[in-house]
């Protein structure tokens, strides 16, 4: 064990200033943990050299799982022996990132027994991240986790750990139970989550309304965004209260409505609900006066991703409105139909969104058994290169 703390003059600069410091966090663990101490040393070294000193890990994991652990090694193992192997666990978070103090202490105790004592709360996909474990601790730590009710999340070409916004637990705008849907889907697809068998990763994200607090439209292969079908609920008394308290309803609300479907005559707010696109703006501005309608469900969009490999994509509408009731069979059927087709024909490291672009949205829909509808496109095609199928010739023969 490296007994003495190495001097870290560069990282010390990052202990200054009002924002909480990650360096102080590493130092807190380094007081009792040698791995955290060597982390500090190696990161200081990166600050000197302006380069990462981690190596991409080969295959590491726990028995029977193909994902959930990211292998990581130091490229300076002689200097920082405690972090020579420094693997990451993705521990599947409870829906909505809710905890009790007791369960947090349980997690901390597990991580004290098996690793660096450093975490991310949370990783980008939503998992609890345990940062830095030696290879020989992987299996014991996994056992410790499962004995306390936790399991690993996804990594590699599998279902990645689904995540959900706070939803009905605290948000008045949740149009379905995001937490339950997330929990249900995660439990249904444990095999797909732990044993990579897809061309590439597949993410589910559940947002309760079009504010999309978990960025599902930008980041998930299947984006489930809550929405309503009927009229926005208006409390006219409260609208007048907002007006009296300084909200400029004409300019801040009516004129910023994307479809200009609202009118305010100084005493009454009217909404042409048939032209409301459920964007949430007016509700966000006047949460006491306006509420989503009562006929609630979700829009399902498919195929968002960051740029790697073929460029970034936002998700495409597949189902404009779906009732969201357990056991969520419609969503599961759709996901499984997509996996069947993409699983067979997708290329290695090709996300669903890219695959759809390659084969064409029309062909993709046909394969998964969904009818094309105008809600799926911003507008019909503008180019005349239409690949008509055999029906044309048959007509000519007839």
């Amino acid at each position: 064990m490296s007994e003495k703390k190495r001097a870290t003059p560069l990282l010390d600069e990052l202990k200054k200033g009002p924002w909480p410091s990650f360096v102080r966090e590493i130092e807190k663990s380094a007081e009792t943990n040698a791995m955290a101490r060597d982390t500090l040393g190696q990161v200081e070294r990166s600050y000197e050299d302006k380069i990462s000193h981690w190596k991409h890990g080969g295959l590491v994991g726990v028995m029977g799982y193909g994902g959930g652990i990211i292998g990581r090694y130091s490229d300076l193992p002689e200097e920082y022996p405690e972090v020579a192997a420094f693997h990451t666990y993705r521990v599947n978070q409870p829906s909505g990132w809710f905890y009790t103090s007791d369960i947090l202490r349980t997690l901390c105790d597990i991580w004290e027994r098996h690793g660096s004592g450093l975490t991310n709360m949370h990783g980008s996909t939503g998992d609890i991240i345990f940062l830095g474990s030696k290879t020989e601790e992987l299996e014991p730590c996994f056992r410790d986790l499962t004995e306390h009710g936790f399991d690993l999340g996804g990594s590699g070409s599998d279902v990645r750990t689904p995540s959900a916004c706070v939803g009905p637990a605290r948000c008045e705008w949740a149009c379905y139970d995001t937490l339950d849907a997330c929990n249900d889907i995660t439990h249904t697809y444990q095999d797909e989550l732990h044993r990579p068998a897809f061309p590439y990763k597949f993410k589910f994200k559940f947002s309760g309304c079009p504010n999309d607090c978990v960025a599902s439209i930008a980041r998930s292969d299947m984006s489930v965004i809550g929405v309503w079908k009927d009229n926005i609920q208006i409390d006219q008394e409260k609208v007048r209260e907002y007006a009296a308290n300084g909200t400029d309803i004409e300019h801040e609300v009516c004129q910023m409505c994307p479809t200009q479907c609202m009118a305010w005559d100084g005493t009454k707010l009217t909404i042409d609900n048939a032209n409301c696109v459920k964007c949430m703006h007016c509700i966000n501005v006047m949460p006491k006066a306006l509420r989503p309608g009562k006929e609630r469900g979700a829009t399902i969009l498919i195929g968002a991703k960051a740029p790697i490999i073929g460029g970034a994509l936002l998700a495409t509408v597949f189902v404009p409105f779906l009732e969201m009731k357990p056991p969520y069979d419609d969503i599961k059927e759709l996901a499984e139909a997509i996996w069947d087709f993409w699983g067979e024909y997708g290329k290695n490291r090709e996300r669903v969104g890219e695959f759809i672009q390659r084969v064409g949205l029309g062909n993709f829909l046909e394969e998964i058994g969904l009818d094309p509808i105008p809600e799926m496109v911003a507008h019909p095609r503008t180019n005349p290169y239409i690949f008509f199928e055999d029906e044309l010739e048959e007509e000519e023969d007839a």
Binding site: F22, F98, S101, G117, T146, D177, I217, G311, A378
Partner: protein
Amino acid sequence: MAVAERKTDIGPPDFHQFLAPIIKKNYGKWAYHEIPEPGVMVHVAESGDKLYTVRAGTPRLLSIVTIRAFADLADTYCDGYLRWTSRHNVEFLLTKKENIEPLKADLHKMGFPVGGTGNSISSIVHTQGWVHCHSSATDASGVVKSIMDELYPHFVNMDLPAKLRIAFACCLNMCGAVHCSDISVLGLHRKPPRIDHENLPKLCEIPTLVSSCPTGAIRPATWEGDPSVEVDESQCMFCGNCYTVCPAMQINNAETDGISIWVGGKVSNARHTPMFSKLVIPFIPNNPPRWPEVVEAVVNIVNVYAKHARKHERVGEWIERIGWPQFFKLTGIPFTKYHIDDFKHAGETYMRTTQLRH
């Protein structure tokens, strides 16, 4: 002693067991919320019950020492109930209004700022950087810390035209919604991978490596009689994808790696449909430990936005109203040939919003 049977595929613990009684009681029956002060929210249920949330920023990288301290605070002030947000903020869920001030005071003492609500800058969603990732073109935590030290007043106040979301990623893999944030800070490599021919056949499968390259720049080749690959450097766009598949394709480069800045993205469907972030500064060299040029560039963009945008306008909406030429003029950022896209852009005709008529 009998060894317990090995459990697998048990999935995450059921969240219900971690919900406060007030949440269980009013689940799905919240009426409205207010933000009485920065970092504090009150959610009022149809039953009249009130739930107070105190939100504090964290550096995302947390020691178990700190997590235990949060657990102690939760025990003292809110019966042990807390959660995290999607942006790395910790939230304490209180039923007693009188506990808000002492909790805030304790958080302040511990060095965790209360804020990040409403029209503020919330915590920066970010990635691993030199603390833990192999392909990072820059550090993550250090740049984020340096930026947030300067933007701190916008976290603890709600003084912006709208909320402003910043994301950071240390390479093109963009763990995090960097491609759709008001301001995005993105690490970039600028040189093709250096091939370790000697070790390549031992470490990597050549067909997988060849197919990993999005531009087809990698081809099988022989090197001193052994199988290896070659890279057509004119086709390489430094995505680092090959390095993730094969450690013998070193993409990191201390001299040429650095940071780019993008603006105007959003994921929310409110008002304007979701938008991608667009490039405004193609490259700033790495300058650890505090990246002053990056910090200055971000602060400048925030300041110009705060001065010129209308109430409720996100960065991208503001720019769309005033136009990009005006944005470059107001910020003083030079426009170059690198700002002009030359990659494929298919599929823009698909509907990418929930804005539909039902």
